[in-house]
């Protein structure tokens, strides 16, 4: 079973309702941190955790998810529909 960690997002005006990290896929390449250090950090297993789910706007958040070489960052809209990866 996939090792998923969910982070609700409540940023005003955002279409994204939830960030999910697939910890099995995450290899700690830290690309997402380079794009948005406000949103992510690495934990003691060198896996990404979300520290600021509301820190950046939707465009920046999407860019950070797109930067991941293993597509370990999943984004969902407010209705629970996955919007990235498509």
């Amino acid at each position: 079973m996939a090792n998923l960690k969910e982070y609700p997002r409540n940023r005003a005006g955002s279409k994204i309702g939830k960030i999910v990290i697939d910890r099995d896929l995450c290899i700690g390449a830290a690309s997402c941190i380079a794009v948005s250090a406000e949103t992510y950090e690495l934990d003691g297993e060198n896996k990404v955790v979300v520290k600021g789910p509301d820190a950046v706007d939707d465009d920046a958040l999407l860019m950070s998810a797109e930067s991941c070489p293993t597509k370990a960052i999943l984004l969902f809209d407010k209705s629970g529909k996955q919007i990235f990866p498509k």
């Binding site: 690495l42 297993e45 070489p69």
Partner: protein, 433 residues
């Protein structure tokens, strides 16, 4: 001849990030990427993972950009073409077949290619290299029927490939020149921890060994080593290092040492030519030396910085000094030249072990190494020190302190009087931050 304001050679993460960075700031400038692979950007790091090689997840997952993305961003993707010549005076690049591309700013982000064997029998079917998607597809296909594999070399790719081969039920013999796995990137204690998990998984290891000849008819059926060992196999995965495909740049006068030599701004010795990613031999401002780093994190950030500096090189004084417009709207980008500054790291996973490398882990003559942990504890960190500072780290299953050590490297923290604490695996290095 097609002319581009920004021409990028290499369609991997460095080149593609450069194109993306340029398009975000310069909406009009023409951009082209020339790549010798027939694909849009994909995830090279996924090629050695079970999800791809063992087809555990849908293949679509390796794609990071679609053809539509290039169209939407007006980035011309010239795929399946190898560059054969560069003319830095005429400012043109020629690809195989003779097509010529003009540039105003050129980025060399060609990456690396797997070095090919040149021993007797190296042309037989069943010998594989792992660097590109096409190579990985061939390996995935071969693994469906192979029974016995020989793996050559002791690198990240070899480590991850061995786990895939074993998961597929294939017998593995590991043949390496080194005295222990991952020498000299790990020290012997770290290497032995890795070898223990390999041996427990049934891998037969041939140390300080080199294949003399590949045996078989049309297809491989074994190898014979210089020590006289004969090992039967029906596939060989050959990891004997990489080469950088930049002969054409060197011939044009671009300075090439191991890779393309660039300064801290990723500028080559040639006007209007930059380099980024695996191929760049760059001046590292943290470590104060020329470095090469072949990892995703480094390539991505270098692509970004090179792109900013390519844009900044369009007469930045026009705006500041209020000189008349040169007539080009795209040139007033208000971008300042930036130094590349990053302590990159990467990890490798297999058989339940996490192995990580950060900074510059070469144990050069003027450097010292400090061990934390032991083979008995199955956890080990090796710190490389230079001038009282940590400059590199290699670790086996102590990944919890990777972030802290990378920060100590970044901060250039003086640890010259702290050797006792550094060598105590129970001492929390966060105390030095």
């Amino acid at each position: 001849m097609k002319e581009f304001k920004y021409l990028i050679v290499g369609g991997g993460i460095a080149g593609t990030t450069a194109a993306e960075t340029i398009r975000a700031k310069d909406s009009d400038g023409s951009i082209a990427i020339i790549t010798d692979e027939p694909y849009p950007l994909y995830s090279r790091v996924m090629l050695s993972k079970p999800s791809f090689l063992l087809e555990k997840t849908p293949k679509a997952n390796i794609w990071l950009k679609t053809d539509d993305w290039y169209k939407k961003n007006r980035i011309e993707l010239v795929s399946g073409k190898s560059v054969v010549a560069l003319d830095v005076v005429a400012k043109t690049v020629t690809v195989g077949g003779g097509e010529i591309f003009g540039y105003e700013k050129l980025l060399l982000a060609v990456g690396a290619r797997a070095r090919r064997w040149d021993i007797p029998g190296a042309d037989k079917k069943g010998i594989y290299y792992l660097r590109t998607l096409d190579e990985a597809k061939e390996i995935a296909a071969a693994m469906k029927t192979a029974k016995r594999a020989v793996v050559i070399g002791s690198s990240c790719v070899a480590f991850e490939a061995i786990e895939n081969l074993r998961s597929a039920g294939i017998e593995v013999a590991e043949v390496m020149l080194e005295k222990y796995f991952w020498e000299p990137m790990l020290d012997e204690e770290g290497g032995r921890i890795v070898e223990k998990v390999l041996t427990e998984a049934g891998v037969k290891i041939f140390r300080q060994s080199e294949v003399k000849e590949v045996l078989g008819g049309e297809n491989v059926d074994g190898v014979i080593t210089k020590n006289g060992e004969k090992i039967g196999c029906d596939m060989i995965l050959c990891g004997i290092g990489v080469i950088y495909p930049v002969e054409w740049a060197k011939a044009a006068g671009v300075k090439v040492n191991r890779g393309v030599v660039v300064n801290e701004y990723l500028e080559t010795n040639t006007p209007d030519v930059w380099a980024a990613g695996d191929v760049a031999e760059y001046s590292d401002v943290v470590l104060e030396e020329q470095c090469m780093a072949g990892n995703w994190m480094n390539a991505r950030e270098q692509g970004r910085i090179a792109a900013l500096n390519m844009m900044a090189s369009f007469d930045p004084f026009d705006l500041v000094q209020g000189r008349p417009e040169s007539g080009r709207t795209g040139d007033k980008l208000r971008i300042k030249k930036e130094k590349f500054r990053l302590v990159s790291f990467y990890t490798s996973h297999g058989f339940g072990l996490n192995v990580a490398f950060g900074g510059d882990i070469r144990l050069l003559p003027e450097r010292t190494a400090i061990s934390r942990g032991s083979a008995e504890s199955a956890r080990h960190t090796r710190l490389i020190l230079h001038g009282g500072r940590i400059v590199g780290v290699a670790m086996v299953d102590r990944i919890f302190e990777l972030g802290t050590i990378v920060k100590l490297i970044e901060n250039r923290t003086d640890v010259s009087a702290k050797h006792k604490e550094l060598s105590d695996p129970n001492f929390d290095l966060k105390a030095f931050l």
